[in-house]
Structures are given as C-alpha cells and as structure tokens.
Amino acid sequence: MAVPKDLRYTKTHEWVGYDRASNLVTTGITDFAVKALGDLVYVELPEVGELMEIGHPYAEVESVKAVANIYGAVGADITEVNEELPNNLEWLVSDPYGKGWIAKGKVAGPDEFNKLLDAAAYEKHCQSEKH
C-alpha cells in the first residue's frame, strides 16, 4: 500500500498535498481506498468555483458494488478539477497520488493541512480498519 510521506490524510481515505508558495492544495483518494472499492465505473467531479468544506462530500467515486463520497479534508475554493479523470479511471488505480488527482483548491493557509494525519498515522489507521 503506497502512502507518500509528503502528503496528509483523512480517516475517510482522502489525501491532500499542499504547496506553500501558491497556497494551493491538491486532493484525491488513497491507494487503500481505491483497492477497497474494487472495479471502478464512474467518478463525479465538482465544478470549478465550488467550495470544498471539511467533512462535506465534494465528489463521488463509484465502483461496481458501491458509491462512495469523497469528503473535503480542508476548506478550499476549487480552482481546477481533473477533467480527464472520468475517461481514465485506471489512473486512480495506477497513480492515485499523481495522475489520479481529483481537485485543486485555494486555501487560507497551512493550518488545516497541518492538522491532518501524517503518513505514519494514516498507515496505522488503515491497519486498524483491516482488522
């Protein structure tokens, strides 16, 4: 299970990358989440200009068996969405932290990002969910 060290995570299996210079976050769902979902059939992206709010669904990903909400990990104004993702769902499987990103957004600062789980804490959380 891949868990990059430079990203932060939620218990609901979203990841967030933060760029200090631009104050932009990039978000997506983790390798663990993608594997748990199984065969993917659809992703519903948010619109540019929408608000990402902590704990509120801003996108959804659907597998053969289920629909899963993707929750906001930080508060952000969505500035860009991965338009090519719906036609390239395999990116979520092959590169969930790269080409499989879902949305980018402008944040007020690093505070909310810093409060998220780091890689070690997230890995521990995934272990606990497996049992």
Partner: protein, 363 residues
C-alpha cells in the same frame, strides 16, 4: 458473525471478506468484473455453505411441503428440482426456495438470511402432517461449480453420470470420494452443478475441486460476481425483487407459482391477482450510469417505480437494473429515466433476463 468451513481457504486466497446475512463471506478475489467474465467463459467455484437446507421426511413429506410452497410438489418426479416461494398469509414472500423431490424425502434449499424463520415456518405448519422437518443447514454444506467448463470439470470426478444429468435434475453419487447430492442447478445463468455433502468434507472438496479444475482454469468466485451473474440472468434475490410485501407474481415469477393448487398464502395471492396487481417488475438498460437499489424510476419526469437491483453488466457492456414500476407503466419507446442521486439518467425498458446462455445443441 458466522464463518463457513471455507473461511481459511478464502483468507489464504486473499479474498476481501464482508458481512452477508450474518456471515463473513468472500465478496471478491480477483475482482468482480474479472470473476463475472471468468464464469461466463470458463468456470468458477462458489462457497454456498451459508445457505440453508431443510429436509422433510416421513409418509406425508410431499404433502407437507406442497402445503407451504407455490410450486406443485406431488407433480414432480423423483430427481427433479423446482423453484418456488414460501408465502405469508398476506400473499407476500417469506423466501424463495428450491424444492428437491427425493425418493424418501424432500430437500428445501433456502436463503442464508432466512434460515431460522423458514425453519420456524415449516415447524409451525407441518405439525398436522405425518412428517418430520430437520434443519440440516449446519451438518450439510454446499459448493457450486458454474460455467461452460463445469461439466468437463465435474463429470470425471463423480461416480454418477453427470453428463446426462438434465437441467434442474439431481442425483446421488460420490464426488472426489465424498457422498453428495448433485444437482444441475445454479444462480449464474450458466451451466453448472451444486453439490450438497457433509460439512466435515468442505475443505477437502473445495481444495480438491480447485486442484482438479486447475487445468481448465477453475477459480473461486465471490459474492459480488455472484450478484452480477444472477442479475444478468434476471434471477430474483430475496430482499430485492421479493420480500414480505411482494406478491411473487408481481415479481414475474409465474414459472414458480401454480395458481391451480392451494398453498399457505394462496388465498391472498389469488385475490390480489384477481383484483389486478399494482406493480410489475421490469428490466432496464442504462447506458450512462449505474442504478442502485432504491433509486426512483421516472416516467415523463414523474416517479413511476423503484429500482430493486442494479449493476454494471460486464457481459453486456452496459448497466442493467430491475425495478418495480406501476402496473400501467408503458413509456413511449420504453424510454424512461432513473434518478441517480438527484440527476435523472436515461434508461430503456428491456426484457428480463438480460442475458441468456447459448444452450448446447444435442448431438
């Protein structure tokens, strides 16, 4: 949560395990889509140990079962399996079942989630007959081999003649040395067999079948693919197409209901039929989105029914669903919509089953 005797085998095979009807069951091994395609093209093996099995014996066993099920048991020849429904007094369905008429007993195969209440229903209503009802669910167990290669895998391992065993027929014989009841039945829409035998042989049988079937690429299949396979084949799942408040004929199960006979609940079933059923089950094809159970079917923008089962169909390359709609539902050109979490998505009414295998031509 209960575990079948094959739990360790599933974990060793790296299956994803989930709760189903109180049991910890494999939902997938390689992936639901791949497993579905595998059963349609080759063969798969299924752990069905969680399903329930009742055995009714005694001089009036046939009469007793016949009094409870919608199908006609006295009419069945020995060695024949028949689909039927257990109804309640309101004409709804307690469960859907398979009846196996044996020489000295009747076997009733029931859903895992309904094991206890079906058994109670039999105990309650068989009292007036000279018969005994036993719940063999824990002693017996059940494994299915399904797919076009099922016969060539299973036949050489059995001392009974499986090649000439007809569809919905059963026989007794040894498979890999284990005494079994073997039926040519299944829940996939493919050819195949279901084996019933003593629980203590479950792991030996599972491993043995997989080892002997390896040359023909026999693989374990999880519940997710099983659900896709049965939906493609238009087979009902209790709790979805059938429940306590559903008349079996609303669900289109005419082949399993003999209205010329009496059975528990038949008065209500017949009255509802005579008065005109309010709903009917239809098949839907959705090119864009997957309809899930509970989603509303819309006709001309107005609610006209509810989806009971829906899935992507790997075999057909589209999304399929079954839905209960108002009896008068007849949209122009079969075109309607399904409300996908607030967004209407186009759907077309199509016949059930969605998929029918090509039957082998008799040589």
């Amino acid at each position: 949560m209960r575990r079948t005797p094959l739990y360790d085998a599933h974990v060793a095979a790296k299956a994803v395990m989930v709760e189903f009807a109180g049991w910890e069951m494999p939902v997938q091994y390689a992936g639901a889509v791949e497993e579905t395609k595998h059963v349609r093209s080759k063969a798969g093996i299924f752990d069905l140990c969680h399903m329930g099995r009742l055995v009714v014996t005694g001089p009036e066993a046939v009469k007793a079962v016949d009094a409870l099920v919608t199908c006609n048991v006295p009419k069945l020849k020995v060695g024949v399996c028949k689909y039927g429904i257990l109804c309640n007094e309101r004409g709804g369905a307690i469960d859907d079942i398979l009846v196996y008429k044996d020489s000295d007993r009747v076997h009733v195969i029931i859903n895992a989630g309904n094991r206890d209440r079906d058994f109670r229903h039999f105990l309650e209503h068989c009292g007036g007959y000279d018969c005994e009802v036993a719940n063999a669910s824990d002693e017996q167990t059940m494994i299915a081999v399904q797919g076009p290669a099922a016969e060539s895998i299973a036949a050489p391992l059995a001392d009974a003649d499986l090649k000439s065993l007809g569809y919905y027929r059963f026989t007794h014989g040894k498979v890999l040395g284990v005494p079994c009841l073997i039926s040519r039945t299944g829940y996939t829409g493919e050819d195949g067999f279901e084996l019933f035998f003593d629980r203590k042989h479950a792991r030996t049988m599972w491993d043995g079948l997989l080892a002997k079937g390896r040359a023909q690429d026999l693989r374990p299949i999880g519940l997710a693919a099983r659900d896709i396979l049965r939906t493609e084949a238009g087979m009902p799942l209790y709790g979805h197409e059938l429940d306590d408040a559903t008349n079996p004929l609303e669900a289109g199960l005419t082949f399993g209901v003999d209205l010329a006979k009496e059975f528990w609940g038949s008065k209500a079933v017949k009255e509802q039929v005579a008065a005109g059923l309010k709903r009917k089950l239809v098949g839907l094809r959705l090119e864009e989105r997957v309809a899930r159970p509970g989603y509303a079917v819309l006709s001309g923008g107005k609610p006209a029914g509810k989806v009971t089962s829906g899935t992507p169909s790997p075999t057909l390359g589209t999304n399929i669903a079954m839905a209960f709609v108002d009896a008068g539902f007849a949209p122009a050109g079969g075109r309607c919509e399904v409300d996908i979490r607030g967004k209407p998505s186009p759907a077309t009414v199509v016949p059930i089953p969605f998929y029918k295998r090509e039957r082998k031509k008799q040589a």
